[in-house]
């Protein structure tokens, strides 16, 4: 079921919430069990065949976790290590089978000259997310960090519908205590007001902005051809904003939904296009994945403890695997590798500046603006690999972005220009291509409207900052007029946002991150 669907907003959500708070007056365990059951129903709406897989995965990891905790408590280190290795391997095999089997068989086939595959495997929704969530749980148990093992709460932790399909990737230790607390089971009007406000802001981002700009991104990536400079940048930037508002909208909706139930999720998205450098970008984009990769992969590989060269190698490998996590394809691997290189360059540049005695915390406004623009351009180039369906397509688009295919404007626009303007443009090498200018005008109108929004405007968490919308959120005061409060004026503004979001539901589309 999609968050941005009529059946979810007007059916699933109110029924689930009403029954949950009704049951909670009688039994917290029953309410938690209901929420887990409702979450399975939410998951099964897409395909019932994969519900047993989800249940089996949760049951297997729960049993492994409990046994692992016992071994750790009894200081049986070798047995604990073996069980830990076994359970992690089982999780990776499950993920590997569903997500990567044909990809690796394809590589094997190209080496051996005997192509083979095992037929089409439908990727179960959210498998990357619920597998990673549970790998983190097992790692925490192995390290002795996990404390609570209530089976109903564990089941709810894994299946909890606000995060099940596309994250955030949760930590056992940040969720289980919340399922224990009595306040979670009491209907809190402030939580409902804050939660619904965040949810509908997210809905607006998804249905109005992301789905609105999508038609100006897709044609370029479906049929790149030989795009000229403006067409290539127009499509790449449109996708840059589509992905941003799609994922940001989804993350807001997940956080808002959970807040209705009194449960706070970790922040997953923090205005990433305001990042001053790539290190900063990865602290803001898909934050819970970055946290997972850092804690369970980068540090496990040795982190920065084994010298500079090894640190850079670890970074690169971590990002390469992070790219592969997004999908079984070379373009994802390249995207991950590219970001690995970006991070190495970024860390190297910092090291050089430190050696030169520069204060990294002091940057001039011009320097910061330049850094932000450079980071943004680097991210856009990365998104071309991320979205393109093949390496050839990605390179064709990048050639266009580099200006190697020239510059052209729609001929229809030329008819609105004076002869001198047209002559100047033609003299500068600008060609006028046949066709209407509507697509071009709308595409660049979206881009011009959205660029300042992502670069300068406060984000949802900042606007609702006083109400602690998410875990791990660093509250920074925003101008008073933009700080949400439960007032009539904000009710009217959020109502407008809600109405726009609801009115755009007819073209319900999947979130881009559902494919990962």
């Amino acid at each position: 079921m999609l968050f941005n669907s009529v059946e979810f907003i007007f059916g699933f959500l109110p029924v689930t919430a009403l029954v949950f708070f009704g049951l909670a007056r009688w039994s917290h365990a029953a309410a938690a069990a209901w929420l887990a059951f409702a979450s399975l129903f939410f998951y099964g709406w897409w395909n019932w065949a994969y519900v047993p897989l989800l249940v089996a995965s949760a049951a297997f990891n729960y049993v492994c976790g409990v046994q692992l905790a016992r071994l750790v408590r009894e200081n049986r280190t070798r047995a604990a290590g073996a069980l830990f290795a076994l359970s992690i391997t089982a999780n990776l095999l499950l993920l590997g089978y569903y997500k990567y089997a044909n990809f690796f068989l394809g590589i094997w086939g190209s080496f051996t000259g005997h192509p083979s595959d095992i037929g089409q495997i439908i990727l179960p929704l959210g498998i990357s997310f619920f597998t990673f969530t549970q790998i983190a749980f097992l790692a925490d148990v192995h390290r002795g960090y996990a404390r609570e093992y209530n089976p109903i709460h564990y089941g709810l932790f894994v299946t909890y519908f606000p995060h099940l399909i596309a994250g955030p990737i949760l930590h056992h230790k940040e969720m289980m205590p919340q399922f224990q607390e009595a306040r979670t089971y009491r209907l809190n009007v402030e939580d409902v007001a804050v939660g619904l406000t965040i949810f509908f802001i997210g809905l607006f981002k998804k249905t109005v902005i992301a789905d609105g700009v999508a038609p100006y991104a897709s044609p370029l990536f479906l049929h790149p051809g030989t795009p000229d400079l403006l067409a290539a940048w127009g499509g790449a930037l449109a996708y840059t904003f589509q992905l941003y508002f799609d994922f940001s909208g989804y993350s807001d909706m997940a956080i808002g939904l959970s807040r209705v139930f009194g449960v706070k999720l970790p922040l997953n998205f923090d205005s990433p296009y305001k990042a001053d450098n790539i290190i900063d970008f990865w602290r803001r984009w898909h934050m819970t994945l970055s946290r997972f990769l850092r804690d369970y992969l980068y540090i496990s590989l040795g982190g920065n403890r084994k010298g500079t060269a090894r640190r850079y190698l670890n970074l690169f490998v971590t990002m390469l695997l992070g790219g592969l996590w997004h999908g079984a394809g070379w373009t994802f691997v390249l995207w991950g590798g590219l970001h690995g290189l970006y991070l190495i360059v970024n860390h190297g540049f910092r090291a050089v500046r430190e050696r030169l005695g520069h204060d990294l915390n002091r940057t001039s406004p011009h320097g910061r603006a330049l850094a932000r623009v450079t980071t943004f351009v680097a991210v856009v180039v990365g998104w071309v690999f991320f979205r393109a369906t093949s390496l050839d397509d990605a390179l064709a688009i990048l050639r266009g972005m580099a200006g190697l295919n020239g510059v052209s404007l729609p001929a229809a626009l030329a008819t609105y220009m004076g002869p001198s303007m047209r002559a100047v443009l033609e003299h500068s090498g600008v060609a006028f291509a046949l066709g209407g200018g509507a697509h071009f005008v709308f595409q660049y109108s979206w881009i011009i409207a959205l660029l300042p929004l992502v670069m300068l405007a406060p984000n949802t968490q900042e606007i609702l900052g006083r109400f602690q919308p998410a875990l791990n959120f660093r509250y920074a005061q925003v101008p008073t007029r933009l700080a949400w409060r439960p007032s009539a004026a904000w009710a009217a503004l959020v109502a407008a946002v809600t109405a726009c979001g609801l009115l755009s539901l007819t073209r319900a589309s999947e979130f881009l991150y559902y494919q990962f």
């Binding site: 007001a193 046949l434 009217a492 109502a495 609801l502 009115l503 539901l505």
Partner: protein, 402 residues
């Protein structure tokens, strides 16, 4: 009441009020002509956005007007055949244009079946487009006859979406704005598309730009698309079964049918030749003739062919930058104008004509002779206009490079 509770009530009430206002605006402006409660010049008379929901607008029009004459087909028919044309005989009036842009022949059969729920016309004009019948020779597709018991739910949902969606609201605002535009896009109440927006484009950019863009698109489409009308095992494309289906539906209700092969402009015909489509184009006509001949004697059905290198189809394209010359018969190589559509109707329906008789009824006995004549005319045209052919060849080469 605590502030968050007051906030929630105010938010809920405001949301409902805004949604109610949107319904009211869409109901009054009625951008797709579904409700027809208010009809005010300067406010909503010109339905500039009707084509955004063309199927909804047109099927509602069929239900409302119960036409005796019906046009089916794709955008060529929507733009070319005016139900107000004097060529329609009295017994086929009122007529309605149910042709929809992008509709393949299978969709056309579906539109016909759906229309028959609302009305039983006496005459149906069905536009036939060769390009709809092309199939991959290795494919094994079948035509599925449209279900006659229509599920009302999708249509109800569609009507609701004409009231309560952002796209409907945007279309309402665009409709109001379009009332004072010189060349608004619009559909007439009878479903005809006068293509007023092309008048504006032609006057600003000239007909050359319109023709060139269409030729470029066609060159790429023809080059990349399949080049056969037969699939695996020599089975004819499913589109031919759609033609049979239209015949069967009409026969069961004693409806007169005139199938019409659109009058392709010489640029289009030349591109068929240059991209290797010509043999399939001939196969298509042969199979069409076979199918329609088979129905002779059981009903009133005819196949009319207006293709060829006639003076109409050979209308000369103005030079680049020429924004003054007006074309009489074509908007561009893909779409003929109402004037030519009127001639087609008059020829098929035996109406009074100012000009000469043109086009021919195709039947089994003379199809090979007709195909030979067309080949000769094509070669003659290509000899007489080497510069046009070279120009189109360059477009094909450019499309091949992309």
């Amino acid at each position: 009441m605590p502030a968050p509770a007051r906030y929630l009530w105010a938010w809920f009430a405001s949301t409902m009020a805004l949604l109610g206002a949107v319904v009211a605006i869409n109901l009054v402006v009625d951008p797709y002509g579904l409700f027809r409660i208010v009809d005010v010049a300067g406010l909503n008379r010109v339905k500039s956005q009707a084509s955004e929901r063309g199927p909804l607008f047109k099927h509602a029009g069929v239900e409302r007007t119960h036409p005796s004459g019906l046009v089916l087909g794709n955008s060529r028919a929507e733009i070319g055949f005016d139900p107000e044309s004097p060529a329609w005989p009295a017994w086929s009036r009122p007529a309605f244009n149910l042709a929809l842009p992008g509709a393949g022949i299978s969709a056309v059969a579906g539109d016909f079946a759906k229309a028959l729920h609302a009305t039983t016309p006496r005459l149906v004009i069905v536009g036939l487009d060769f390009l709809d019948f092309r199939v991959d020779p290795s494919s094994d597709d079948t035509f599925r006859a449209p279900a006659m018991s229509a599920d009302p739910l999708p249509e109800m949902r569609e009507r609701a979406s004409a009231l309560l969606t952002m796209s409907a609201l945007i279309d309402s605002l665009a409709t109001v704005r379009a009332q004072h535009e010189p060349y608004p896009t619009s559909l007439t109440e009878a479903g005809f598309n006068p293509k007023r927006d092309y008048i504006g484009v032609a006057r600003r950019q000239g007909y050359f730009a319109l023709f060139r863009q269409r030729d470029q698109e066609n060159a790429a489409t023809y080059l990349r698309g399949p080049k056969s009308v037969f699939q695996a095992g020599g089975r004819p494309a499913p589109g031919f079964d759609a033609v049979d289906n239209i015949i069967a539906l009409a026969r069961a209700r004693r409806i007169t049918v005139r199938f019409v092969i659109y009058p392709y402009h010489v640029h289009t015909l030349t591109l068929f030749h240059l991209t290797g489509l010509w043999p399939a184009y001939e196969d298509w006509k042969r199979e069409l003739v076979r199918r329609i001949d088979a129905a002779q004697g059981t009903m009133d059905v005819e196949l009319w062919d207006f293709t060829g290198f006639s003076p109409y189809a050979d209308e000369r394209v103005p030079r680049p930058g020429d924004t003054r010359t007006e074309l009489r018969w074509y908007w561009e190589a893909g779409h003929f104008k109402r004037a030519l559509g009127d001639l087609l109707l008059a020829n098929m329906l035996d109406a009074q004509l100012d000009g000469e008789r043109w086009g021919r009824r195709l039947a089994g006995r003379d199809v090979e002779e007709h195909l030979l004549e067309q080949r000769v005319a094509r070669d003659d045209y290509e000899r007489r206009h080497p510069e046009d052919v070279a120009d189109l060849k360059a477009l094909v080469a450019a499309a091949a490079r992309r």
